[in-house]
């Protein structure tokens, strides 16, 4: 019983922390984000397991975490607001040649981050970027200015 509660609580708490601690860790996690995610996860884990290091407890916790995850994923599809809360919404970082300062500041993204993604798409300069969008998975997608202009 205690194991199940601890599992469910730990999972929800971690989702909240990771979601609100600033930038969302994307597909390519920089070392900096890795430290945070790993450290937070490990600390939650020790409390989840507590003093009961039996295999039964481990299985119970794993199953309850998995179930919580499934339930959240299901609710997220059913109820749009929850989707927004858990995954957030894509944000435009650069459009019409202007930085969207507010979004950049809140998400703690620098022009370097956008340029790194632009280079990854084979662009050489920032003025070749028509749009930069911070996606929900934490990646920055870059759309090139049409060539003929």
């Amino acid at each position: 019983m205690a194991g199940v509660l601890r599992g469910v609580f730990g999972y929800c708490f971690l989702v909240l922390i990771v979601r609100t601690a600033g930038r969302r860790p994307g597909k390519q996690i920089a070392p900096f984000e890795f430290v945070f995610v790993f450290f937070a996860g490990g600390l939650t884990l020790t409390a989840m397991v507590g003093d009961d290091r039996s295999l039964t407890n481990a299985f119970t916790i794993i199953i309850s975490i998995a179930l919580t995850h499934l339930v959240l994923a299901y609710l997220q599809r059913r109820w749009k607001t929850l989707g927004l809360i858990i995954d957030g919404t894509p944000l435009v970082l650069l459009k019409n040649g202007k930085w969207q300062v507010e979004a950049m500041r809140h998400m703690r993204i620098q022009d370097d981050d956008v340029m790194a993604m632009a280079r990854d798409n084979g662009l050489e300069r920032l003025d070749q970027v028509a749009y930069a969008v911070l996606e929900r998975n934490g990646e920055i997608s870059v759309i090139q200015t049409p060539k003929d202009q």
Partner: protein, 178 residues
């Protein structure tokens, strides 16, 4: 070939500048940023409270209870944490010491819920009964003290009555955090 249900592709994702489909929800995002700010200010407050000991293991959690005649003085943590070890210390004054020994009675919650692991020093005698445990400790010099190593077994609020022969009883209330 088995058919699956299909739906025509519509322009369902909201656009920026009428050309780039992004589907961002700025209204929500502003609310979210405000919420995040408030949440982390709250978290910072929680950490400060924890440093002070509001949730146990800090200066605010330490407490002392004594009988009017100073027969027993109990140093304990009024907020304990589930599964975390701590020490409850009882000092005995003159009124509680009779014939070179102390007869101490503590409520059974000491063992049942607060999880007393060890008693230092070893009592001469310990008897279970009357909703608690009676100990007899030999006393060679004053001041004398006894320590109980606690490790709470479940979260909750527990009453811990303590009584020594020759001195009025005291009742401790200990809150165990999850």
């Amino acid at each position: 070939m088995p058919s699956t249900s299909t739906k025509p592709v519509e322009d369902s994702v909201k656009k920026v500048n009428d050309e780039l489909a992004v589907g961002s929800d700025l209204e929500f995002q502003h609310k979210w940023w405000r919420f995040t700010r408030g949440l982390w200010i709250f978290f910072a407050a929680v950490i400060v409270a924890d440093l002070l000991g509001c949730f146990g293991r800090g200066p605010l959690a330490n407490a002392t209870a004594r009988t009017p005649d100073n027969g027993i003085v109990v140093k304990y943590e009024r907020i304990e944490r589930y599964g975390a070890p701590s020490i409850l210390r009882i000092d005995f004054g003159q009124p509680a010491i009779q014939n070179g020994q102390v007869r101490l009675w503590v409520g059974e919650s000491l063992v049942k819920t607060l999880g007393a692991q060890r008693v230092i020093p070893q009592p001469d005698q310990s008897i279970v009964g009357a909703g608690g445990i009676s100990y007899v400790f030999p006393i060679s010099s004053t001041p004398a003290s006894v320590k109980f190593a606690l490790q709470p077994v479940a979260p909750g609020i527990y009453e811990l009555p303590i009584r020594a022969a020759g001195s009025p009883p005291i009742n401790l209330r200990i809150f165990v955090m999850p």
